[in-house]
Amino acid sequence: MPQFSVSPDGSWIQETGLPFEMNESDNYALEEALQIREQMGDSEVVIVSLGPDRCQKVIREALAKGADRAIHIKEDSPYETDPYSIATALANTIKDEKFELVLSGLQSDDLGFGQTGVILGEILGMTTATLVVGTEIQDGKIKVKRELESGWFQWQTMDLPASLAIQSGLNQPRYPSLKGIMGAKKKEIKESSFAEMCDIDGLQAFNGLSVQRAEKQTEMIEGTVDQVVNKLVDVFKNEIRIN
């Protein structure tokens, strides 16, 4: 894992030299979408992505895996961090196409808000679900399996249109075939800009970004076995709070 450092203007991290990849849960969402399409037959999988030029690589990867076309909402640094603004831009971009299903990753591994898909669904009047670990299309509705805490799960049947936030691990994402990779070059990527698509003021912003823990200080616990055990129990309950 690369070490991150905060950029000079304090707005985000230094990106130069860092490798980028598709957000992990997004990859699972994409695979789920492709599998639903294979099941349904006559449907289209469209990719939407917000970000700078380097997003194109990930968009092409999705097209190579089998998506039909894409929309790239271009955005330059400093990047928007407010999930409501992001969801608004996405909603404005797709609202006229009247999609039946919107799938997104559960959360982005960088910002970790986990809200975009649900907010998008609310703005467009869709039903929503998060932590989705299974999907089933059933006569005009969608049945999803949600992950609850501690090994519990729940199925729910939702009206379409629906916006689902997909949890990692629910399927085996495919690798792009050679034909897919070469075919992706010819698929359409429509472009627009964030400024055009987001017509509101943001609801929250980052203010003061810092590196969490530069150095690890190990606290050594010493003493007899009983003393050590007592101290460990104290650490577990009061410092780490395992409850």
Partner: protein
Amino acid sequence: MPDIHFSNIEKIILTLSTLACLGSFVYEVWRRIRIVLRGQGSLPFDKIGARIWRVINEVLFHKKVMGQRFWPGLMHGLVFWGFLVFGLITIDHFAIGFGAPLFSKSFHHFYSYFGIPFAILALIGIVSLVYRRFITQPVHLGKLSPTSGLVAVFIVVLMVTYIIGEMDISPLTWKINWWLHSAMILAFLWLIPRSKHLHLVLAPINIFFRPFTQPEHTLVEIDLEASEEDLDNMLASMTQMTMNQVLDVFSCVECGRCTEVCPANRGGGVLDPKNHFILDLRQPLLESGSVDVLAQLNIEAGWECTTCQACTEVCPVGNHVEKSDEIRRSEVLIEGKVPQEYQKLFTNLQETGNTEGASSSPLAESLPVYSSDMEYVLWLGCFARYGLDPDFENSVRSFTKILDVANVSYGILENEHCSGDPPNRLGDKLTYSMLREYNTELLSEVKKVVTLCPHCAVNLEREYAKYGNVNYTVEHHTQVIKRLITEGKIKVEKGENGKVTFHDPCNLSRMLDELDAPRMAITSVTSDFMELEESGRQTLCCGAGGGLWWKKETQGRTHLVRAEQVVKSGADTVVTGCNFCYGMMKQGLGPLTPDGRSEISVKDIADIVAENMVSNK
């Protein structure tokens, strides 16, 4: 042998039955040869002298057949040599039936002084083999085969009827005996092409055409600018067998040696090379008559292979057994079905040019940078560069120490990308071609490369050369060390390391044909060297080859089988010449070393040599 006359009716019957069986034989053989000729590429005729010599060695002298399994090999040899001696006799036998014997009576009688002892030896041979096959039933020979039983009966009857035919018996008995012998020959002719006994005909031919290096697979050249039609053609050709591969399938004698040596199979995996790589293709080839049958291979088995080529090495009829390349490349390039851990590996390689997705290498930064006035490029490889086993850094430094003492100049390439061995062996030929093109460009002005990783060496030297010109030479570090010791550029003395053994890396022994350099180095620094039970070209893979170092959730114990052998050998130190082998030994030996026994030390050749260097002065 009495004076015998064959009536016209007998001659007609003989003619018709001979024509029928001979015709059937020719038809069936020709049918298979035709399928072979539909294969891609062509059969090789280069190095004819070496090829002929190999046939003489392996067929006539039974070098491999007796080398691996001596006694059954010798018994088979007796049957085989018996067959050679009986070649002329058999022709003469039929000639007699047509009333035109080849040999005079006295020559025939004289020949029987060879014939009868050989017949007896052949009988001993075949009876021992029958006992082994049907009573002992070694597991790798597979299910009991009625065909084998039938052939055994044929051979026994043939030998017995020959001997009887040389005895003083009544003409009637002689004739009945004669017809029995002929019937056996004709039945045999009918059976040969329809069974594994086709190896009688095809094995020498297959051994003649066997490639000289391994592994050997069709190249997959990817042109990202190609038209859709060209791409379709290229992808379609990926599932088609080559002539040599088809010939392999029909030559297979089903002995099971390939499965017996396979590390994945021995580790409890699904992979069974005899069936999964060879025999599963036989019916599809015969039924369809087409060579486009590679898609039928078992995919799960294909992912388990370590690409070590033990199967190819051991095959007595010259098969290139391993087919994981064919299976994996289809799964990756055509199907897009890749195990998740390998997807990550490929993405890392595409993004950063190394297997770990890392952006820097402290080891590389601490070493001198290559400039053209230096003798060698020291090629590190991702394993050393990115600390896949952090202790291996010591081995790299042992080697640089040796080079420093010997006054050999070297430098690393700052922009070294992965040599591409993992994607190459895992079927991602696209990522491989990207890395290969990049490195070829990087090495365009370089003359000499030395590396500690045999996987890198195999690719940089041999694999890259299959795609284009390579203007540099590649040495494995053990080869350089051997040379430096021989030339007196470094001085070593024999030190104390307890019992020392050497684990041959499969990429070094079987793919680079290097057995001697590491041994020379080790025996220069210790007097207590012992070989492991499967060593040299018969080495048992450590389990990390073929990209399996990055495999998650190992079902079998492929990675532990060799470690077990090391523990059993009683060695105190195991030396190896490959960073993957080093890492696997370190991981595997720990849990397997019994309580009370001290830890087995794992060293690279560079380590043990550097430790025992003495001052030159």
